[in-house]
């Protein structure tokens, strides 16, 4: 029965969008996480989405998160000699999080989440109606 697969498909999308919302929340929370060394500075994270494939390499319909990558954009540097974490030159490192991008990403993720919930609910209704066939 194909309709049962819809639950797997929409469920996988809900999971993927939740991961996306989580990374966005993490990025927004760390917008001002100042650090003294470039290596220890927080970098914006993004999930990588891909279509789920079965053993034969055919699309199964769902979506999966292949992994989470860190943004390669340059870190922000600010001159704050009074800051306790400032380096010898008086500069501190700030994460490469772009709040505007993150907000847009958050809205997109939340809209996609809603769409998939709607698909889920509609399919549930269709199945419930089918179960009461002939009543």
């Amino acid at each position: 029965m194909s309709l049962f697969n819809v639950f797997d498909i929409s469920g996988s999308a809900l999971r993927a969008q939740t991961i996306r919302l989580n990374t966005t929340a993490g990025n927004m929370a760390n917008t001002d996480s100042i650090s003294s060394s470039t290596g220890a500075t927080y970098r914006a994270r993004q999930p990588v989405f891909a279509a789920q494939l079965d053993a034969a390499g055919e699309a199964m319909g769902g979506v999966e998160v292949l992994g989470i990558v860190e943004s390669q954009a340059p870190l922000r540097r600010e001159y704050r000699p009074e800051h306790p974490l400032a380096g010898q030159d008086g500069y501190v490192n700030l994460p490469n999080v772009n709040p505007v991008e993150e907000m847009a990403d958050m809205i997109s993720a939340s809209r996609s989440y809603q769409s998939n919930v709607e698909v889920f609910n509609t399919s549930k209704q269709m199945l419930m109606r089918t179960l009461s066939l002939g009543d």
């Binding site: 029965m1 194909s2 309709l3 697969n5 819809v6 498909i9 929409s10 996988s12 999308a13 993927a16 969008q17 996306r20 989405f49 891909a50 279509a51 699309a59 319909g61 769902g62 979506v63 997109s108 993720a109 996609s112 769409s115 998939n116 709607e118 698909v119 509609t122 399919s123 209704q125 269709m126 109606r129 089918t130 066939l133 002939g134 009543d135």
Partner: protein, 129 residues
């Protein structure tokens, strides 16, 4: 006079199967609305139904490794042509997919209603009330 269940339910049973298959395909499109390089798929409903109807007495595949007989493609899945392609190669247009999904769901319920009426007719014939 004989009443065959197959005959009584006729095209509606096949249409219902096809509708649920289409719901699955459209759900997959909506699920992959943010997947880079994902290509939206769909089926031509009337063509698929016509090919299903022409299959009476066709060879059945009883094993996953069996190949379908000629002219009996497993799924005639097509690719949707987008009006505006996303920069990441994704061809899903959410509004279009959502509309198609709701439309498909409504038509599914309509078919279900017709089927339900047929079943009720059969039931009253069986009971002889």
């Amino acid at each position: 006079m004989t009443i065959g269940f197959e005959k009584a339910l006729s095209v509606h049973a096949q249409a219902l199967t096809l509708r649920s298959r289409r719901a699955e395909i459209l759900a997959a499109n909506i699920a992959n609305a943010d997947t880079p390089n994902y290509q939206a798929r769909d089926i031509d409903f009337s063509a698929a139904l016509a090919s299903l109807q022409g299959q009476d007495g066709a060879l059945k595949t009883t094993h996953a490794a069996h190949l379908p007989a000629a002219g009996e493609a497993r799924d005639n899945l097509l690719y949707r042509t987008p009006d505006q392609m996303a920069i990441d190669g994704n061809t899903v247009e959410e509004e279009q997919e959502k509309t198609a999904f709701s439309d498909n769901a409504l038509r599914y319920q309509a078919t279900l209603q017709l089927l339900s009426n047929r079943v009720q007719g059969l039931l009253s014939a069986i009971r002889g009330e």
